[in-house]
Amino acid sequence: MKLIFAGVLAGLMATTAAKADEIVFTSWGGTTQEAQTKSWAEPFAASSGIKVLQDGPTDYGKLKAMVDAKNVTWDVVDVEMDFAIKAAKDGLLEPIDFAAVPKADLDPRFSNENAVGSFYYSFVLAWNKGAVTGEPASWADMFDTKKFPGKRTFYKWSAPGVIEIALLADGVPADKLYPLDLDRAFKKLDTIKSDIVWWGGGAESQQLIASGEAAFGQLWNGRVFALEKDGADVGVSWNQNLTAADVLVVPKGAKNKDAAMKFLAAATSPTGQAKFAEASGYAPINTKAKAEMLADVVKGLPDAHVEGQINLDMNYWAEHRDEIATRWYAWQAK
Protein backbone atom coordinates (compact mmCIF):
# COMPACT_ATOMS: atom_id res chain seq x y z
CA MET A 1 0.00 0.00 0.00
CA LYS A 2 2.77 2.40 0.98
CA LEU A 3 4.65 1.50 -2.15
CA ILE A 4 1.71 2.51 -4.28
CA PHE A 5 1.35 5.78 -2.40
CA ALA A 6 5.06 6.38 -2.85
CA GLY A 7 4.68 5.66 -6.54
CA VAL A 8 1.78 8.08 -6.95
CA LEU A 9 3.64 10.72 -4.96
CA ALA A 10 6.74 10.25 -7.06
CA GLY A 11 4.58 10.60 -10.14
CA LEU A 12 3.08 13.83 -8.89
CA MET A 13 6.46 15.18 -7.94
CA ALA A 14 7.94 14.18 -11.28
CA THR A 15 5.47 16.42 -13.08
CA THR A 16 6.96 19.46 -11.36
CA ALA A 17 9.89 19.71 -13.73
CA ALA A 18 12.50 22.37 -13.26
CA LYS A 19 11.66 25.90 -14.38
CA ALA A 20 13.72 27.87 -16.86
CA ASP A 21 16.29 29.04 -14.33
CA GLU A 22 16.60 25.60 -12.79
CA ILE A 23 17.95 22.24 -13.82
CA VAL A 24 17.51 18.81 -12.27
CA PHE A 25 20.70 16.86 -11.71
CA THR A 26 20.43 13.14 -11.07
CA SER A 27 23.20 10.96 -9.71
CA TRP A 28 23.78 7.94 -7.49
CA GLY A 29 23.21 9.43 -4.03
CA GLY A 30 25.48 8.96 -1.04
CA THR A 31 28.95 10.43 -0.67
CA THR A 32 29.42 10.69 -4.45
CA GLN A 33 26.40 12.89 -5.08
CA GLU A 34 27.21 14.97 -2.00
CA ALA A 35 30.63 15.66 -3.49
CA GLN A 36 29.05 16.55 -6.83
CA THR A 37 26.63 18.92 -5.12
CA LYS A 38 29.41 20.69 -3.21
CA SER A 39 31.96 20.77 -6.03
CA TRP A 40 29.71 21.47 -9.00
CA ALA A 41 26.13 22.38 -8.21
CA GLU A 42 26.61 24.91 -5.42
CA PRO A 43 29.40 26.97 -7.05
CA PHE A 44 27.57 26.77 -10.40
CA ALA A 45 24.32 28.02 -8.87
CA ALA A 46 26.16 30.87 -7.16
CA SER A 47 27.94 32.05 -10.31
CA SER A 48 25.22 31.47 -12.92
CA GLY A 49 22.04 32.03 -10.94
CA ILE A 50 20.73 28.70 -12.23
CA LYS A 51 19.38 26.61 -9.41
CA VAL A 52 20.40 22.95 -9.42
CA LEU A 53 17.79 20.58 -7.99
CA GLN A 54 19.12 17.19 -6.88
CA ASP A 55 17.37 13.95 -7.67
CA GLY A 56 18.37 10.32 -7.60
CA PRO A 57 19.35 7.63 -7.72
CA THR A 58 20.02 7.23 -11.42
CA ASP A 59 17.56 4.73 -12.86
CA TYR A 60 18.00 3.71 -16.50
CA GLY A 61 14.45 2.39 -16.75
CA LYS A 62 13.11 5.72 -15.56
CA LEU A 63 15.33 7.60 -17.98
CA LYS A 64 14.05 5.55 -20.92
CA ALA A 65 10.45 5.92 -19.72
CA MET A 66 10.83 9.71 -19.54
CA VAL A 67 12.24 9.93 -23.05
CA ASP A 68 9.61 7.52 -24.43
CA ALA A 69 6.82 9.47 -22.78
CA LYS A 70 8.35 12.78 -23.94
CA ASN A 71 8.12 14.05 -20.39
CA VAL A 72 11.74 14.43 -19.39
CA THR A 73 12.23 15.86 -15.91
CA TRP A 74 15.96 15.17 -15.60
CA ASP A 75 18.30 17.61 -17.32
CA VAL A 76 21.69 16.14 -16.46
CA VAL A 77 22.19 12.52 -15.44
CA ASP A 78 25.29 10.77 -14.17
CA VAL A 79 25.40 7.33 -15.86
CA GLU A 80 27.90 4.53 -16.41
CA MET A 81 29.75 4.98 -19.65
CA ASP A 82 28.76 1.68 -21.25
CA PHE A 83 25.13 2.64 -20.71
CA ALA A 84 25.75 6.04 -22.31
CA ILE A 85 27.17 4.45 -25.46
CA LYS A 86 24.21 2.10 -25.72
CA ALA A 87 21.67 4.82 -24.87
CA ALA A 88 23.11 7.14 -27.53
CA LYS A 89 22.67 4.37 -30.10
CA ASP A 90 19.05 3.93 -28.96
CA GLY A 91 18.43 7.66 -29.42
CA LEU A 92 17.89 8.41 -25.72
CA LEU A 93 20.43 11.23 -25.44
CA GLU A 94 20.89 14.79 -26.65
CA PRO A 95 24.15 15.57 -28.43
CA ILE A 96 26.56 17.62 -26.33
CA ASP A 97 26.82 21.23 -27.45
CA PHE A 98 30.60 21.56 -27.60
CA ALA A 99 30.24 25.27 -28.35
CA ALA A 100 29.07 25.62 -24.74
CA VAL A 101 31.23 22.86 -23.23
CA PRO A 102 34.98 23.35 -23.84
CA LYS A 103 36.34 20.08 -25.13
CA ALA A 104 40.06 20.73 -25.53
CA ASP A 105 41.17 19.57 -22.09
CA LEU A 106 38.76 16.67 -21.64
CA ASP A 107 40.27 13.19 -21.56
CA PRO A 108 39.19 11.80 -24.95
CA ARG A 109 38.71 8.32 -23.45
CA PHE A 110 35.67 9.52 -21.54
CA SER A 111 33.93 11.89 -23.92
CA ASN A 112 31.97 11.38 -27.10
CA GLU A 113 29.23 13.10 -29.05
CA ASN A 114 26.56 12.45 -26.46
CA ALA A 115 28.48 12.38 -23.19
CA VAL A 116 31.23 14.15 -21.29
CA GLY A 117 33.20 12.50 -18.51
CA SER A 118 31.94 12.87 -14.96
CA PHE A 119 34.83 11.17 -13.19
CA TYR A 120 36.68 7.96 -13.57
CA TYR A 121 37.16 5.33 -10.98
CA SER A 122 38.74 2.02 -10.23
CA PHE A 123 37.28 -1.12 -8.80
CA VAL A 124 39.71 -2.06 -6.05
CA LEU A 125 39.98 -4.91 -3.59
CA ALA A 126 39.10 -3.65 -0.13
CA TRP A 127 38.86 -5.48 3.14
CA ASN A 128 38.01 -5.03 6.79
CA LYS A 129 41.28 -5.45 8.68
CA GLY A 130 39.49 -6.80 11.72
CA ALA A 131 37.76 -9.53 9.73
CA VAL A 132 40.63 -10.72 7.53
CA THR A 133 43.87 -12.31 8.63
CA GLY A 134 46.64 -11.48 6.20
CA GLU A 135 46.41 -9.23 3.19
CA PRO A 136 44.63 -10.32 0.03
CA ALA A 137 46.83 -9.24 -2.84
CA SER A 138 44.94 -10.08 -6.01
CA TRP A 139 41.50 -10.95 -7.32
CA ALA A 140 42.53 -14.61 -7.20
CA ASP A 141 42.57 -14.31 -3.41
CA MET A 142 38.90 -13.37 -3.45
CA PHE A 143 38.22 -16.77 -4.94
CA ASP A 144 40.40 -18.64 -2.46
CA THR A 145 37.99 -19.46 0.35
CA LYS A 146 40.58 -21.63 2.15
CA LYS A 147 43.19 -18.94 2.43
CA PHE A 148 40.65 -16.15 2.95
CA PRO A 149 37.42 -17.46 4.49
CA GLY A 150 34.44 -15.18 4.97
CA LYS A 151 31.84 -13.45 2.93
CA ARG A 152 32.93 -11.42 -0.07
CA THR A 153 30.90 -8.68 -1.65
CA PHE A 154 30.54 -7.87 -5.34
CA TYR A 155 28.53 -5.42 -7.42
CA LYS A 156 25.05 -6.82 -7.85
CA TRP A 157 24.07 -5.43 -11.23
CA SER A 158 25.20 -6.56 -14.63
CA ALA A 159 28.00 -4.09 -15.35
CA PRO A 160 31.67 -4.12 -16.30
CA GLY A 161 33.75 -5.52 -13.46
CA VAL A 162 32.78 -8.80 -11.85
CA ILE A 163 33.02 -10.91 -15.01
CA GLU A 164 36.50 -9.50 -15.65
CA ILE A 165 37.49 -10.13 -12.03
CA ALA A 166 36.45 -13.79 -12.28
CA LEU A 167 38.41 -14.24 -15.49
CA LEU A 168 41.52 -12.56 -14.06
CA ALA A 169 41.26 -14.76 -10.98
CA ASP A 170 41.01 -17.79 -13.24
CA GLY A 171 44.30 -16.85 -14.87
CA VAL A 172 43.20 -15.05 -18.02
CA PRO A 173 45.89 -12.47 -18.90
CA ALA A 174 44.72 -8.85 -18.78
CA ASP A 175 45.24 -8.30 -22.51
CA LYS A 176 43.19 -11.40 -23.41
CA LEU A 177 40.05 -10.49 -21.42
CA TYR A 178 37.98 -9.44 -24.45
CA PRO A 179 35.89 -10.90 -25.93
CA LEU A 180 34.69 -12.09 -22.52
CA ASP A 181 34.51 -15.85 -22.01
CA LEU A 182 31.22 -15.86 -20.10
CA ASP A 183 31.10 -19.64 -19.59
CA ARG A 184 34.48 -19.58 -17.95
CA ALA A 185 33.60 -16.54 -15.83
CA PHE A 186 30.37 -18.05 -14.48
CA LYS A 187 32.10 -21.35 -13.79
CA LYS A 188 34.67 -19.50 -11.72
CA LEU A 189 31.98 -17.48 -9.93
CA ASP A 190 30.12 -20.71 -9.15
CA THR A 191 33.02 -21.76 -6.91
CA ILE A 192 32.31 -18.95 -4.43
CA LYS A 193 28.64 -18.27 -5.10
CA SER A 194 27.43 -19.21 -1.62
CA ASP A 195 30.01 -16.86 -0.08
CA ILE A 196 28.95 -13.83 -2.11
CA VAL A 197 26.94 -10.98 -0.60
CA TRP A 198 25.85 -8.54 -3.29
CA TRP A 199 25.94 -4.79 -2.92
CA GLY A 200 23.48 -2.79 -4.95
CA GLY A 201 24.75 0.71 -4.20
CA GLY A 202 27.89 2.43 -2.98
CA ALA A 203 26.60 3.13 0.52
CA GLU A 204 25.72 -0.53 0.93
CA SER A 205 29.22 -1.61 -0.08
CA GLN A 206 30.67 0.72 2.55
CA GLN A 207 28.34 -0.56 5.22
CA LEU A 208 29.12 -4.21 4.41
CA ILE A 209 32.89 -3.74 4.64
CA ALA A 210 32.92 -1.31 7.57
CA SER A 211 30.73 -3.59 9.70
CA GLY A 212 32.67 -6.70 8.71
CA GLU A 213 29.45 -8.20 7.40
CA ALA A 214 31.55 -8.96 4.35
CA ALA A 215 35.22 -9.52 5.08
CA PHE A 216 36.30 -8.16 1.73
CA GLY A 217 35.05 -7.17 -1.65
CA GLN A 218 35.18 -5.28 -4.90
CA LEU A 219 34.52 -1.61 -4.20
CA TRP A 220 34.65 1.69 -6.04
CA ASN A 221 37.87 3.35 -4.95
CA GLY A 222 36.02 6.53 -3.94
CA ARG A 223 33.90 4.60 -1.48
CA VAL A 224 37.02 3.11 0.11
CA PHE A 225 38.53 6.61 0.18
CA ALA A 226 35.47 7.83 2.09
CA LEU A 227 35.73 4.92 4.53
CA GLU A 228 39.39 5.69 5.17
CA LYS A 229 38.54 9.36 5.71
CA ASP A 230 35.96 8.29 8.30
CA GLY A 231 38.63 6.31 10.11
CA ALA A 232 37.31 2.84 9.27
CA ASP A 233 39.91 0.09 9.60
CA VAL A 234 40.05 -0.94 5.95
CA GLY A 235 42.82 -2.24 3.74
CA VAL A 236 42.98 -1.74 0.01
CA SER A 237 44.86 -3.37 -2.84
CA TRP A 238 45.25 -1.52 -6.12
CA ASN A 239 46.70 -4.60 -7.80
CA GLN A 240 44.80 -5.22 -11.07
CA ASN A 241 42.53 -2.25 -10.38
CA LEU A 242 39.86 -1.99 -13.03
CA THR A 243 38.99 1.42 -14.40
CA ALA A 244 35.66 2.52 -15.73
CA ALA A 245 34.05 5.91 -16.02
CA ASP A 246 30.85 7.68 -15.21
CA VAL A 247 29.73 10.23 -17.74
CA LEU A 248 27.24 13.08 -17.70
CA VAL A 249 24.46 12.97 -20.27
CA VAL A 250 21.45 15.06 -21.19
CA PRO A 251 18.35 12.93 -21.88
CA LYS A 252 16.66 13.49 -25.24
CA GLY A 253 13.99 16.17 -24.87
CA ALA A 254 15.36 17.62 -21.63
CA LYS A 255 13.48 20.82 -20.89
CA ASN A 256 16.45 22.98 -19.89
CA LYS A 257 19.02 21.92 -22.41
CA ASP A 258 20.92 25.21 -22.59
CA ALA A 259 21.22 25.52 -18.83
CA ALA A 260 22.23 21.84 -18.73
CA MET A 261 25.09 22.49 -21.16
CA LYS A 262 26.29 25.36 -18.99
CA PHE A 263 26.25 23.02 -16.02
CA LEU A 264 28.29 20.44 -17.95
CA ALA A 265 30.86 23.12 -18.75
CA ALA A 266 31.20 23.95 -15.04
CA ALA A 267 31.28 20.30 -13.94
CA THR A 268 34.02 19.34 -16.40
CA SER A 269 36.08 22.51 -15.86
CA PRO A 270 39.53 22.07 -14.28
CA THR A 271 38.30 23.66 -11.04
CA GLY A 272 35.08 21.62 -10.87
CA GLN A 273 36.99 18.42 -11.55
CA ALA A 274 39.76 19.23 -9.08
CA LYS A 275 37.31 20.00 -6.29
CA PHE A 276 35.29 16.87 -6.96
CA ALA A 277 38.40 14.68 -7.00
CA GLU A 278 39.50 16.11 -3.66
CA ALA A 279 36.08 15.45 -2.14
CA SER A 280 35.53 12.00 -3.59
CA GLY A 281 38.84 10.30 -4.34
CA TYR A 282 37.77 9.70 -7.93
CA ALA A 283 39.98 10.76 -10.79
CA PRO A 284 39.35 13.93 -12.83
CA ILE A 285 38.52 13.65 -16.52
CA ASN A 286 39.91 17.12 -17.25
CA THR A 287 43.64 16.90 -17.93
CA LYS A 288 44.25 20.36 -16.44
CA ALA A 289 42.59 19.54 -13.11
CA LYS A 290 45.63 18.02 -11.44
CA ALA A 291 47.49 21.33 -11.51
CA GLU A 292 44.86 22.66 -9.11
CA MET A 293 45.03 19.76 -6.68
CA LEU A 294 47.09 19.02 -3.57
CA ALA A 295 49.92 16.57 -4.17
CA ASP A 296 48.77 14.03 -1.60
CA VAL A 297 45.28 13.94 -3.12
CA VAL A 298 46.76 13.22 -6.54
CA LYS A 299 48.70 10.32 -5.00
CA GLY A 300 45.49 8.56 -3.93
CA LEU A 301 43.74 8.74 -7.29
CA PRO A 302 43.29 5.83 -9.70
CA ASP A 303 45.72 7.40 -12.16
CA ALA A 304 48.45 7.14 -9.56
CA HIS A 305 48.01 3.37 -9.78
CA VAL A 306 48.50 2.72 -13.48
CA GLU A 307 50.83 -0.20 -12.89
CA GLY A 308 48.79 -3.35 -13.40
CA GLN A 309 45.75 -1.20 -14.08
CA ILE A 310 43.22 -2.62 -16.50
CA ASN A 311 40.79 -0.54 -18.53
CA LEU A 312 37.35 -2.12 -18.69
CA ASP A 313 36.22 -2.12 -22.31
CA MET A 314 33.17 0.17 -22.41
CA ASN A 315 32.58 -0.32 -26.12
CA TYR A 316 32.56 -4.09 -25.77
CA TRP A 317 30.08 -3.79 -22.91
CA ALA A 318 27.87 -1.32 -24.75
CA GLU A 319 27.60 -3.79 -27.60
CA HIS A 320 26.96 -6.90 -25.47
CA ARG A 321 25.11 -5.29 -22.57
CA ASP A 322 21.77 -7.06 -23.04
CA GLU A 323 23.24 -10.45 -23.82
CA ILE A 324 25.51 -10.40 -20.76
CA ALA A 325 22.77 -9.00 -18.53
CA THR A 326 20.33 -11.76 -19.46
CA ARG A 327 22.89 -14.42 -18.58
CA TRP A 328 24.01 -12.57 -15.48
CA TYR A 329 20.55 -12.37 -13.91
CA ALA A 330 19.71 -15.92 -14.89
CA TRP A 331 22.89 -17.09 -13.17
CA GLN A 332 22.18 -15.00 -10.08
CA ALA A 333 18.66 -16.38 -9.75
CA LYS A 334 19.90 -19.98 -9.84
Binding site: I4, G61, K151, E213, A325, Y329, Q332, A333
Partner: protein, 286 residues
Protein backbone atom coordinates in the same frame (compact mmCIF):
# COMPACT_ATOMS: atom_id res chain seq x y z
CA UNK B 1 -2.73 -3.81 -6.11
CA UNK B 2 -2.77 -3.87 -2.36
CA UNK B 3 -4.79 -0.70 -2.29
CA UNK B 4 -7.47 -2.40 -4.32
CA UNK B 5 -7.48 -5.29 -1.89
CA UNK B 6 -8.04 -2.92 1.00
CA UNK B 7 -10.81 -1.06 -0.69
CA UNK B 8 -12.40 -4.29 -1.78
CA UNK B 9 -12.72 -5.40 1.79
CA UNK B 10 -14.16 -2.14 2.95
CA UNK B 11 -16.79 -1.92 0.22
CA UNK B 12 -17.53 -5.24 -1.38
CA UNK B 13 -21.03 -4.12 -2.33
CA UNK B 14 -21.76 -1.05 -4.41
CA UNK B 15 -24.01 1.14 -2.32
CA UNK B 16 -26.80 3.30 -3.66
CA UNK B 17 -25.99 6.85 -4.73
CA UNK B 18 -23.43 5.93 -7.34
CA UNK B 19 -23.34 9.51 -8.59
CA UNK B 20 -21.46 10.71 -5.53
CA UNK B 21 -18.81 8.11 -6.21
CA UNK B 22 -18.08 9.44 -9.66
CA UNK B 23 -15.00 11.51 -8.72
CA UNK B 24 -13.52 8.53 -6.90
CA UNK B 25 -14.28 6.24 -9.83
CA UNK B 26 -12.67 8.66 -12.26
CA UNK B 27 -9.62 8.85 -10.02
CA UNK B 28 -9.33 5.07 -9.83
CA UNK B 29 -9.90 4.80 -13.57
CA UNK B 30 -7.25 7.38 -14.34
CA UNK B 31 -4.60 6.21 -11.89
CA UNK B 32 -5.21 2.44 -11.79
CA UNK B 33 -7.16 1.18 -14.76
CA UNK B 34 -5.47 3.24 -17.48
CA UNK B 35 -1.90 2.39 -16.39
CA UNK B 36 -2.80 -1.28 -16.11
CA UNK B 37 -4.23 -1.24 -19.63
CA UNK B 38 -1.12 0.54 -20.86
CA UNK B 39 0.91 -2.17 -19.19
CA UNK B 40 -1.07 -4.90 -20.91
CA UNK B 41 -0.73 -3.14 -24.23
CA UNK B 42 3.01 -2.78 -23.79
CA UNK B 43 3.41 -6.47 -22.96
CA UNK B 44 1.99 -7.47 -26.36
CA UNK B 45 3.46 -4.67 -28.50
CA UNK B 46 7.00 -4.11 -27.20
CA UNK B 47 9.25 -4.77 -29.13
CA UNK B 48 6.78 -6.20 -31.69
CA UNK B 49 3.12 -7.13 -31.85
CA UNK B 50 2.50 -10.61 -30.49
CA UNK B 51 2.76 -12.86 -27.46
CA UNK B 52 6.54 -13.33 -27.66
CA UNK B 53 7.08 -11.80 -24.21
CA UNK B 54 4.73 -14.28 -22.59
CA UNK B 55 6.30 -17.14 -24.53
CA UNK B 56 9.75 -16.04 -23.36
CA UNK B 57 8.61 -15.83 -19.73
CA UNK B 58 6.78 -19.11 -19.59
CA UNK B 59 9.35 -21.02 -21.62
CA UNK B 60 12.45 -20.03 -19.66
CA UNK B 61 13.73 -22.00 -16.68
CA UNK B 62 15.00 -18.91 -14.88
CA UNK B 63 11.66 -17.16 -14.91
CA UNK B 64 9.87 -20.36 -13.93
CA UNK B 65 12.15 -20.59 -10.91
CA UNK B 66 11.41 -16.98 -9.98
CA UNK B 67 7.66 -17.68 -10.24
CA UNK B 68 8.10 -20.72 -8.02
CA UNK B 69 10.15 -18.72 -5.50
CA UNK B 70 7.51 -16.02 -5.41
CA UNK B 71 4.78 -18.50 -4.50
CA UNK B 72 7.03 -20.35 -2.08
CA UNK B 73 7.88 -17.18 -0.16
CA UNK B 74 4.26 -16.01 -0.15
CA UNK B 75 3.12 -19.43 1.14
CA UNK B 76 5.75 -19.63 3.87
CA UNK B 77 5.02 -16.06 4.96
CA UNK B 78 1.27 -16.70 5.04
CA UNK B 79 1.54 -19.89 7.12
CA UNK B 80 3.94 -18.38 9.64
CA UNK B 81 1.88 -15.20 9.84
CA UNK B 82 -1.25 -17.18 10.66
CA UNK B 83 0.57 -19.18 13.35
CA UNK B 84 1.99 -16.05 14.99
CA UNK B 85 -1.11 -13.89 14.56
CA UNK B 86 -3.64 -16.33 16.00
CA UNK B 87 -2.53 -16.25 19.65
CA UNK B 88 -2.10 -12.48 19.50
CA UNK B 89 -5.56 -12.01 17.98
CA UNK B 90 -7.07 -14.32 20.58
CA UNK B 91 -5.42 -12.41 23.39
CA UNK B 92 -6.72 -9.14 21.93
CA UNK B 93 -10.20 -10.57 21.58
CA UNK B 94 -10.53 -11.71 25.18
CA UNK B 95 -8.57 -9.06 27.05
CA UNK B 96 -10.28 -6.03 28.70
CA UNK B 97 -11.21 -3.41 26.12
CA UNK B 98 -8.95 -0.66 27.50
CA UNK B 99 -5.84 -2.83 27.42
CA UNK B 100 -6.76 -4.21 24.01
CA UNK B 101 -7.02 -0.68 22.62
CA UNK B 102 -3.48 0.09 23.76
CA UNK B 103 -2.14 -3.09 22.18
CA UNK B 104 -4.07 -2.34 19.01
CA UNK B 105 -2.45 1.09 18.97
CA UNK B 106 0.99 -0.48 19.19
CA UNK B 107 0.24 -2.86 16.31
CA UNK B 108 -1.15 -0.08 14.13
CA UNK B 109 1.75 2.19 15.06
CA UNK B 110 4.18 -0.24 13.45
CA UNK B 111 2.25 0.15 10.20
CA UNK B 112 2.75 3.89 10.30
CA UNK B 113 6.51 3.60 10.43
CA UNK B 114 8.23 3.73 7.08
CA UNK B 115 8.53 0.30 5.48
CA UNK B 116 12.12 0.90 4.40
CA UNK B 117 13.14 1.93 7.91
CA UNK B 118 11.59 -1.18 9.37
CA UNK B 119 13.30 -3.37 6.81
CA UNK B 120 16.69 -1.75 7.50
CA UNK B 121 16.09 -2.32 11.19
CA UNK B 122 15.74 -6.01 10.44
CA UNK B 123 19.00 -5.92 8.51
CA UNK B 124 20.73 -4.55 11.59
CA UNK B 125 19.21 -7.30 13.70
CA UNK B 126 19.68 -10.24 11.36
CA UNK B 127 23.04 -9.76 9.66
CA UNK B 128 26.10 -11.84 10.50
CA UNK B 129 27.49 -9.07 12.65
CA UNK B 130 24.00 -8.09 13.79
CA UNK B 131 22.44 -7.89 17.21
CA UNK B 132 20.97 -11.42 17.22
CA UNK B 133 24.10 -13.21 16.06
CA UNK B 134 26.39 -11.21 18.33
CA UNK B 135 24.09 -11.84 21.28
CA UNK B 136 23.91 -15.58 20.65
CA UNK B 137 27.67 -15.80 20.14
CA UNK B 138 28.41 -13.80 23.27
CA UNK B 139 26.11 -16.11 25.21
CA UNK B 140 28.06 -19.07 23.86
CA UNK B 141 25.02 -20.63 22.22
CA UNK B 142 26.58 -20.63 18.74
CA UNK B 143 30.17 -20.43 17.44
CA UNK B 144 29.39 -19.35 13.90
CA UNK B 145 26.89 -16.66 12.96
CA UNK B 146 23.57 -18.10 11.82
CA UNK B 147 22.69 -17.33 8.20
CA UNK B 148 19.63 -15.20 8.92
CA UNK B 149 19.82 -12.77 6.04
CA UNK B 150 20.16 -12.85 2.24
CA UNK B 151 18.11 -16.04 2.18
CA UNK B 152 14.59 -17.37 2.62
CA UNK B 153 14.84 -17.08 6.41
CA UNK B 154 15.55 -13.35 6.22
CA UNK B 155 12.75 -12.67 3.75
CA UNK B 156 10.29 -14.69 5.83
CA UNK B 157 11.13 -12.99 9.11
CA UNK B 158 10.96 -9.51 7.62
CA UNK B 159 7.75 -10.11 5.73
CA UNK B 160 5.91 -11.92 8.52
CA UNK B 161 6.61 -8.93 10.73
CA UNK B 162 5.22 -6.54 8.13
CA UNK B 163 2.17 -8.70 7.34
CA UNK B 164 1.15 -9.40 10.95
CA UNK B 165 -1.26 -6.45 11.32
CA UNK B 166 -3.06 -7.47 8.12
CA UNK B 167 -3.67 -10.89 9.66
CA UNK B 168 -4.38 -9.80 13.22
CA UNK B 169 -7.02 -7.19 12.39
CA UNK B 170 -9.48 -9.40 10.46
CA UNK B 171 -8.83 -12.26 12.86
CA UNK B 172 -9.68 -10.22 15.94
CA UNK B 173 -12.95 -9.25 14.29
CA UNK B 174 -13.84 -12.87 13.69
CA UNK B 175 -12.74 -14.02 17.14
CA UNK B 176 -14.68 -11.26 18.90
CA UNK B 177 -17.81 -12.34 17.07
CA UNK B 178 -17.53 -15.84 18.51
CA UNK B 179 -19.78 -16.24 21.54
CA UNK B 180 -17.45 -17.09 24.48
CA UNK B 181 -20.28 -19.22 25.84
CA UNK B 182 -19.62 -21.80 23.12
CA UNK B 183 -16.20 -22.45 24.62
CA UNK B 184 -17.63 -22.63 28.13
CA UNK B 185 -20.25 -25.03 26.86
CA UNK B 186 -17.53 -27.19 25.34
CA UNK B 187 -15.66 -27.25 28.65
CA UNK B 188 -18.84 -28.13 30.51
CA UNK B 189 -19.36 -31.01 28.14
CA UNK B 190 -15.94 -32.30 29.13
CA UNK B 191 -13.84 -31.11 26.20
CA UNK B 192 -10.16 -30.57 27.02
CA UNK B 193 -8.81 -27.07 26.12
CA UNK B 194 -7.12 -28.60 23.07
CA UNK B 195 -10.30 -30.28 21.90
CA UNK B 196 -12.27 -27.08 22.45
CA UNK B 197 -9.73 -25.23 20.34
CA UNK B 198 -9.69 -27.83 17.59
CA UNK B 199 -13.40 -28.48 17.37
CA UNK B 200 -14.94 -25.13 18.35
CA UNK B 201 -12.58 -22.17 18.14
CA UNK B 202 -10.65 -23.14 15.04
CA UNK B 203 -13.64 -23.96 12.82
CA UNK B 204 -15.45 -20.81 13.93
CA UNK B 205 -12.43 -18.61 13.23
CA UNK B 206 -11.72 -20.18 9.87
CA UNK B 207 -13.37 -17.40 7.83
CA UNK B 208 -11.12 -14.84 9.52
CA UNK B 209 -8.04 -16.99 8.95
CA UNK B 210 -8.99 -17.46 5.31
CA UNK B 211 -9.66 -13.78 4.73
CA UNK B 212 -6.48 -12.60 6.46
CA UNK B 213 -4.42 -15.42 5.01
CA UNK B 214 -5.47 -14.65 1.46
CA UNK B 215 -4.81 -10.98 1.94
CA UNK B 216 -1.33 -11.70 3.28
CA UNK B 217 -0.66 -14.16 0.47
CA UNK B 218 -1.78 -11.75 -2.22
CA UNK B 219 0.21 -8.85 -0.76
CA UNK B 220 3.29 -11.05 -0.38
CA UNK B 221 3.19 -12.05 -4.04
CA UNK B 222 3.92 -8.52 -5.18
CA UNK B 223 6.33 -7.47 -2.44
CA UNK B 224 9.52 -5.73 -3.46
CA UNK B 225 11.47 -3.85 -0.80
CA UNK B 226 11.72 -6.50 1.88
CA UNK B 227 12.75 -9.42 -0.38
CA UNK B 228 15.18 -7.14 -2.20
CA UNK B 229 16.93 -6.13 1.03
CA UNK B 230 16.64 -9.24 3.18
CA UNK B 231 16.72 -11.90 0.49
CA UNK B 232 19.48 -13.23 -1.70
CA UNK B 233 19.57 -13.28 -5.47
CA UNK B 234 18.81 -17.00 -5.52
CA UNK B 235 15.41 -16.49 -3.94
CA UNK B 236 14.48 -13.52 -6.02
CA UNK B 237 10.78 -12.75 -6.24
CA UNK B 238 8.78 -11.63 -9.24
CA UNK B 239 8.57 -7.95 -8.34
CA UNK B 240 12.34 -7.74 -8.13
CA UNK B 241 12.69 -9.48 -11.46
CA UNK B 242 10.27 -7.00 -13.04
CA UNK B 243 12.33 -4.13 -11.65
CA UNK B 244 15.47 -5.70 -13.08
CA UNK B 245 13.93 -6.17 -16.51
CA UNK B 246 12.88 -2.55 -16.62
CA UNK B 247 15.74 -0.80 -14.83
CA UNK B 248 18.66 -2.82 -16.01
CA UNK B 249 17.63 -4.54 -19.23
CA UNK B 250 15.31 -1.68 -20.30
CA UNK B 251 13.01 -4.43 -21.53
CA UNK B 252 9.62 -2.89 -20.82
CA UNK B 253 7.79 -5.50 -22.86
CA UNK B 254 9.10 -8.42 -20.86
CA UNK B 255 8.72 -6.55 -17.58
CA UNK B 256 5.13 -5.63 -18.41
CA UNK B 257 4.30 -9.22 -19.30
CA UNK B 258 5.73 -10.47 -16.00
CA UNK B 259 3.87 -7.79 -14.09
CA UNK B 260 0.66 -8.64 -15.91
CA UNK B 261 0.95 -12.35 -15.12
CA UNK B 262 1.40 -11.43 -11.46
CA UNK B 263 -1.63 -9.16 -11.68
CA UNK B 264 -3.82 -11.88 -13.18
CA UNK B 265 -2.82 -14.38 -10.49
CA UNK B 266 -3.41 -11.77 -7.81
CA UNK B 267 -6.82 -10.87 -9.20
CA UNK B 268 -7.85 -14.52 -9.31
CA UNK B 269 -6.91 -14.93 -5.67
CA UNK B 270 -8.65 -11.68 -4.85
CA UNK B 271 -11.85 -12.96 -6.46
CA UNK B 272 -11.55 -16.06 -4.30
CA UNK B 273 -11.08 -13.87 -1.26
CA UNK B 274 -14.16 -11.80 -2.07
CA UNK B 275 -16.22 -14.95 -2.21
CA UNK B 276 -14.84 -16.15 1.12
CA UNK B 277 -15.38 -12.81 2.82
CA UNK B 278 -18.83 -12.67 1.30
CA UNK B 279 -19.77 -16.05 2.71
CA UNK B 280 -18.41 -15.05 6.09
CA UNK B 281 -20.60 -11.98 6.06
CA UNK B 282 -23.59 -14.08 5.17
CA UNK B 283 -22.87 -16.45 8.04
CA UNK B 284 -22.16 -13.62 10.48
CA UNK B 285 -25.32 -11.79 9.51
CA UNK B 286 -27.57 -14.75 10.22
Amino acid sequence: MSVEVQQGIATPRIPAGLGGLLPALILIGLFFVVPVLALLLRSVTDPALGLQNYAALLGDGTYARVFFNTFLVAAVVTIVTVLVAFPIAWMLAIMPQALASILFGIIILSMWTNLLTRTYAWMVLLQRTGVINRGLMAAGIIDQPLPLINNLTGVSIGMVYIMLPFMILPLVGTLRAIDPMTLRAAALCGASPLAAFRRILLPLSLPGIAAGGLMVFVMSLGYFVTPALLGGTSNMMLAEMVAQMIQSLLNWGLGSAAAFILLVVTMALYALQLRLVGSKRAAGGA
